[in-house]
Symmetry: C2
Subunit: 536 residues, 2 copies
């Protein structure tokens, strides 16, 4: 039974939650190791201990691609599966649990929690989906004039106005022009539409770059710890090695180039060729916004070391503190005088984040600069195998980079919607940050940006022992207890990586404001009870 | 210069077009080899001869993932790049070429050539994009009543009616229920919504299965030759081996299990573990529709040999001859009495094909049956890393599997649109088929289904020699000449694979009917001139 459970955990999403007790390699990772070059690779060997599937089936977990088995993705992992089960039970039998709803704080999915879409964007999308109504008089009454005008503009950029056709594999030329114009307006430096690759959200763009850069397990990618697990998952799927660098929690999740240098050298000494550096700014799961100076250091480091800078900038519109401002890495590098020939830089953007939070539309792009024409041709080829990204997502990406401007009919309502969402997010971030800091043994850095808080929790030894008995990581033990007691879904820190021996959880700031008091109240009560139960 | 060109071709999309002359390994493939286990792999070794990129750039074609370099995708390859250039020249300088427009017959992209979307589908999509108008009185005048009703139904299936939220990673449960109901109605056998994985078009689903099944180059996938190059590209990207089986042109692109058996044994003798068989039905690029008997043989073969049957059924609604009918492989296997435990079967479907041709929406699904729960969990995990497919595509997939029914307000206009498209496609297929068969040295099988014809062309020795001098494959030479003379874009057979020493091209049947006479006339004139020029 224990072996079966091991296999189940190992083959499921949140494998690492279970490795704490059973697997000495993983144990050392949680407790003491600082050399975590093997971060994503320790799972594979454990598969040998799994019992075989029924032998008649040609495909079993034992004979599929081990890179798939190795890959982990905690954001939709075991804890979410449990939450969904609880939700079904609540629906089938109200009152069956000590809470009346599940409060999903596990994923940056704002509209699933009641955030309303930006009206202007949806008007344009609807009109582009059914252009036959553009000329009808009823349409004037239903849609704003500038949405109608924008829809015509978008359609005119699409050959044959065919929103149902595959586009150019990088995306529709006219929409890329609009996005490049938006980037120029943001940065004050030129952007080339031919550098834009539109993708179904940012995830496929990250996969494309990992696929391009990874030849074998000897190729490494420097990733922050904690990190958004898309990176570890993608590196595992493409057979590379995650080279971790630690963000410094004591300086508000600071990113020190001395740490980058140290980890790069450690990787080199193990025969790893480090190809790229991933930076997530604003941070996920950590919520910090990098300073210009820090960004300049990072650019300089990548230039000196010949690394591709993979800049996850999907939270560029989510900054909540007046003292910080988002600057793209392209802007920073151009400000330093570095151009196309000096640094290879990829910036990822998504329509899923920002104030709009249009996760279901799967729009996004990457801006690819500083690569030779022959390498770009290879990226284009891989994009072309999948033909193109979805056209609604492409249109939306062009809209978020070029929202209504002062003087447009929709400007006032648009900016009211945008500011309402952003100011509410800032309030929610502050309320949750304060609440976390009130909890015994919990410290939480400031939420400067993005959609998350990543508080640190000092768990009593008795709780750590209990987790061990339950065959789970201590932070996962805490999160599962919390879920079962309150319906609140946090993701354990072990899903993102953390300094060994420390424990965290990630909470989004996304529940609607009227739900926040309930989150705080239920969490605070639970935490007190938990600490009372396990206090050493 | 020649080396540069070689590198350019080798690193571009249609590498194989150039290998004819320069590369002996490839040459043997075109001319004499029948053992093509190395089908997609012959390019890699040639990369060594390419000159290095400027050494200062950290990323060069020489140090990226060789699997990416190896991958080829002819449908959007070099010939299309040339066509786009010609189109730009025509726009900039009308009259600069001996034709006034480019006639794209290279890709199954109906709406790019003027096919109009199905009104009902677009009405529902527009309403789901902007549900705020559902209650407005003007909406009644603009949209059909059943589209409004369907939009409400769809929205009620989405938690919180949030079309802007990430969904379950397999797709929205209620939409999967609807798709499963559509499959049941089609097949007369039960379908389980939990077997459905919604994807951004069929391509990502194919990639997921290739990724799952491929551990190393010693894992093989049986693919038809000719094949849709997504398969060779995906196998190359995931590092597996394409094991070819040849369709028999003389029996209307028949699929003989004796050939499957022969190629399977040949692969085994080379140490290849064959994991799966790809069948494309209706065929791409070949347009044939398999008989029930043939399908039963294929199912039996997969069961006996323990192969996963990967059934590309995206053209299931595109059948043009009364004597043939589409049957899904799931229906066939269930009719034979084989259930979940007997055969591992994946069926791919897409909203890009059918009569609706909604390529830009990137909707599709795979129905995954006959895998253990643990393997299914792995497939789910990989899907979850990318969060979900786009919601508009998900909605559309549910609509195409459940179009308006008799009695619905839209039924009459819907079925008129559908039948108009399908009967026109049948006429276009017949006209082109007849035209091809009129050309000297050209034979063309019947277009029973899908969207393509794949005529065989006997090229004079003098043309083959001229192609050799031009450093290109003979069929690519013909297609380039055709493009430059007429603006017609066909894809050379070498992009799909063909029996060595034979030459083909693929033409879609998709130009609108009023363009077909021009295609026939221009092609016929060109062909006569070409044959006159090169007749031995």
């Amino acid at each position: 039974m224990i072996i079966y459970m091991m296999r189940k955990f190992v083959s499921g999403c949140v494998r690492n939650l279970s490795r704490y007790r059973s697997l000495s390699a993983s144990q050392s990772r949680y407790l003491s190791s600082t050399s975590v070059l093997d971060f994503p690779s320790s799972a594979s060997s454990t598969m040998a201990s799994a019992p075989p599937s029924k032998s008649s089936a040609p495909v079993t977990v034992e004979n599929i691609n081990p890179k798939v088995v190795k890959c982990e993705y905690a954001v939709r992992g075991e804890i979410v599966t449990v939450a969904q089960k609880l939700q079904q039970e609540l629906q089938a039998k109200p009152g069956s649990h000590p809470f009346d709803e599940i409060l999903y704080c596990n994923i940056g999915n704002p509209q699933s929690l009641g955030q309303q879409p930006i009206t202007f964007f949806r008007e344009v999308l609807a009109l582009c989906d059914h252009p036959a109504i553009l000329d009808r008089s009823e349409t004037q009454g239903l849609f704003s004039a500038d949405a109608i005008e924008r829809a015509w503009q978008v359609l005119d950029q699409i050959p044959g106005r065919a929103t149902g056709a595959y586009s150019h594999s990088q995306g529709i030329q006219g929409l890329r022009d609009a996005i490049a114009a938006g980037i120029e307006a943001r940065d004050g430096f030129p952007a080339d539409p031919n550098d834009i690759f539109l993708t179904d959200g940012a995830s496929p763009a990250v996969h494309m770059m990992m696929q391009l850069l990874t030849r074998s397990e000897n190729d490494g990618i420097l990733c922050p710890i904690p990190q958004y697990p898309l990176y570890s998952a993608s590196i595992a799927l493409h057979g590379g090695t995650l080279v971790p660098y630690y963000l410094d929690e004591t300086t508000g999740w600071g990113l020190e180039t001395s740490e980058l240098k140290k980890q790069l050298e450690a990787a080199k000494s193990k025969g790893i060729t480090v190809r790229a550096l991933v930076v997530i700014n604003p941070g996920n799961p950590t919520g910090q916004v990098l300073s210009d100076e820090n960004q300049r250091d990072i650019v300089e480091f990548c230039k000196q070391e010949g690394l591709v800078l993979l800049a996850d900038e999907v939270y560029q519109e989510n900054v909540y503190v007046p003292e910080k401002k988002f600057h793209s890495f392209k802007k920073i590098s151009r400000t330093m005088g570095y151009g196309e020939g000096d640094i290879s830089l990829v910036s990822f953007q998504s329509v899923s984040k920002g104030y709009y939070g249009e996760c279901g539309k799967r729009g996004g792009y990457m801006e690819v600069t500083g690569f030779g024409a022959d390498v770009r041709e290879q990226i284009y080829k891989v994009a072309s195998v999948n033909l193109c990204s979805n056209i609604s997502g492409q249109i939306l990406a062009s809209l978020v980079m070029n929202p209504p401007k002062v003087g447009d009919e929709s400007y006032e309502s648009y900016s009211a919607e945008r500011d309402g969402i952003l100011s509410s997010l800032a309030r929610r971030a502050k309320t949750l940050e304060d609440a976390f800091n009130q909890l015994e043994g919990v410290t939480c850095n400031k939420a400067e940006g993005a959609m998350y808080l990543f508080p640190r929790i000092s768990l009593p030894q008795k709780a750590i022992k209990a987790a061990e008995v339950a065959n789970t990581a201590p932070d996962a033990f805490y999160c599962k207890r919390l879920l079962n007691a309150t319906g609140i879904v946090f993701v354990p820190g072990s899903g993102f990586g953390q300094v060994p021996g420390t424990w965290h959880f990630r909470s989004t700031i996304l529940p609607q404001e009227d739900k926040i008091p309930a989150v705080v109240l239920r969490l605070t009560e639970f935490h007190k009870g938990f600490m009372d139960e396990f206090r050493d």
